[in-house]
């Protein structure tokens, strides 16, 4: 059976999620993710052509709120929680040129 997931896939996904994984962790998570995919494959193997896909586990649609303004947070409180602030804005490192 072809491998469901390779270490390279996990490296890629970890990079997208900005996770730094050790070699041990890579091996551990590759195995765990493969088990998740195995489970999905088990479900896929069932005869499900008559079953409507589940969009959401809750049997609800149209949970809506009225378009009414609520009080926002106090700006001082919000910016106090930020690591760095300039001109009432969140100061963040340059977006590009980040280490790969």
């Amino acid at each position: 059976m072809a491998e469901r997931i390779t270490t390279a896939d996990v490296v890629h996904v970890a990079a997208l999620a900005r996770l730094e994984l050790s070699a041990d962790e890579l091996e551990l998570f590759t195995g765990q993710l493969a088990a998740v995919l195995d489970h999905a494959a088990d479900v896929e193997a069932l005869e499900l052509s008559e079953v409507v896909p589940t969009a959401h586990p809750l049997p609800l649609v149209n949970v809506l709120r009225d378009d009414v303004v609520h009080r926002s947070l106090d700006r001082h409180e919000v910016l106090d929680a930020a690591p760095s602030v300039e001109g009432h804005r969140f100061r963040v490192p340059p977006v590009l040129g980040e280490p790969s």
Partner: protein
């Protein structure tokens, strides 16, 4: 030599004119103090949960129905990416099951441009780049304002049905008119409440296969859009003519340089890993709600153009201009009040570009009747119209006050006969078919009547005299 055809599809993002954001009750407002309209939901704080705004759904449906879309049950997905303009590290959007599908935008010249989908999503925060002259590549750091994060957007994706920069511009203008008519958005490109990305490719005329496309971003006006389409089409044709290939890439329009350039590959190495948003249940607007929204739609620009054309018999360009200026209701009311269709359209197209001020339909109708009946010359009518716009009143009274008393028919006829009698040589030339002499006679009659004569009426009398 190969002849080329440009193929364009547009993605237009519009901020919806709601009071609050898409998933929280923070104000949706442009130009507020930075980071004053933020809360745990739109800041992506742990434990906060989004709740969908009914008003945003209603506006999205209104737009969808105005574009003739089918409103369908839909889902929200998370579009994952790391960028500080989205504090959650994902944007909630609609992916494979959008709320509106399969619509059409009808242009003023009758062309019908397909709309693939118009889906709901949330806007991102606004970053400004500091250092490096504001250029993103060289920025020292960025500053983020989250007032815009979570503002409701619709993204309207056209089919690749557009064939020229002019048509692309016309599409955006028409879409803007629909957005304004439905009240879905204020659609201001300069304030960023309407943003346009263009997918552009070229192919040999006659081919039905799409060429490799480039997506062009940073189009801040319809003028930029038109320039970028022309530039990009030329660039691609040059490549293909030289035997090279067009690379599928995202390109950035530089308004000052008048060129597009590729974004660094890192910027487009997106892998969004869409998955269903577990915190939101499906949206499935019930038929009664859809029907109510549909019934409340105003008459849309395309329908207004058809109505005005049918009522006045005017050409497509005049009709489009008058509807674009919002003068069609006035023209139709004046027509109802007995106005002259031709003169009403001429004035609406040429003389009412600014405001209509104090002008009402009855006065407008009266003015054009006087004009059509020969009581006012075209020049006089224009002056009377300006007065009606400025102060209102009755056109006959205004004409009287301006000294434009209609010349009694017999006075005009007498002046024409006197001019003929006084200039026998000129009259002989007129009789011999020298049409230019008519101008001379009009001048003579004008002089004799202190400018009150209507040039067209004089010419008609001259012809009548010549024929008898």
């Amino acid at each position: 030599m190969t002849e080329w055809e440009t193929v364009i599809g547009l993605e237009v993002h519009c901020e919806l004119a709601t009071a609050t954001k898409l998933f929280c009750g923070c104000r949706n407002a442009f130009g507020d103090e930075p980071n004053t309209n933020v809360c745990p939901v739109c800041l992506g704080l742990p434990g906060s949960l989004p709740v969908l705004n009914r008003g945003a759904v209603e506006l999205a449906m209104r737009l969808g129905l105005a574009l003739g879309c089918e409103v369908r049950p839909s889902l929200f997905h998370r579009k994952n990416y790391f960028y500080p303009d989205m504090p959650k590290d994902y944007q909630i959007s609609q992916y494979d099951q959008p709320v509106n599908v399969d619509g059409v935008v009808e242009l003023a010249d009758g062309a019908r441009i397909g709309v693939e989908r118009a889906h709901l999503e949330e806007d991102t925060g606004k970053s400004s780049h500091v250092g490096g002259g504001g250029r993103i590549h060289e920025a020292d750091h960025s500053l983020v304002d989250y007032n815009r994060a979570g503002v409701p957007l619709v993204e309207i994706v056209s089919r690749p049905d557009l064939r020229s920069s002019e048509q692309a511009k016309a599409y955006v203008n028409e879409l803007r008119a629909v957005l304004l008519a439905t009240g879905a958005s204020d659609a201001r490109m300069e304030e960023g409440s309407m943003r346009v990305d263009a997918n552009i490719s070229v192919r040999p005329v006659g081919s039905s296969v799409l060429g490799t496309r480039c997506e062009v971003k940073n189009l801040n006006s319809t003028r930029s859009l038109a320039r970028a389409v022309d530039y990009e089409a030329r660039r691609q044709i040059e490549l293909l003519s030289a035997g090279e290939q067009v690379l599928q890439q995202t390109r950035h329009w530089d308004e000052a340089d008048g060129r597009t350039s590729p974004l660094r590959s890192k910027e487009e190495a997106f892998d969004y890993r869409y998955f269903p948003e577990p915190d939101l249940v499906p949206l499935s607007p019930e038929p009664a709600w859809q029907a109510a929204v549909g019934e409340a739609l105003p008459l849309l620009p395309a329908a207004r153009r058809r109505r005005l054309a049918a009522a006045t018999g005017a050409g497509a360009a005049s009709v489009a201009m008058v509807v674009e200026r919002g003068l069609d209701d006035l023209v139709l009311a004046a027509l109802e009040a007995g106005g002259d269709p031709g003169r009403l359209m001429v004035h609406a197209e040429h003389d009412l570009a600014g405001a209509t001020g104090a002008l009402d339909a009855t006065a407008f109708a009266g003015l054009t009747s006087m004009e059509a009946g020969g009581a006012l010359t075209a020049t006089q009518a224009k002056a009377v119209l300006a007065e009606l716009v400025a102060t209102g009143g009755d056109p006959e009274a205004v004409a009287g006050a301006l000294g434009y008393e209609a010349l009694p028919g017999e006075v005009l006829a007498g002046a024409v006969d006197a001019a003929i009698a006084a200039n026998p040589a000129a009259w002989d030339r007129f009789l011999a078919g020298d049409a230019k002499v008519a101008g001379f006679f009009v001048g003579q009659v004008m002089k004799a009547t202190a400018g009150k004569a209507d040039g067209k009426a004089v010419t008609a009398l001259l012809r009548q005299r010549a024929a008898s």
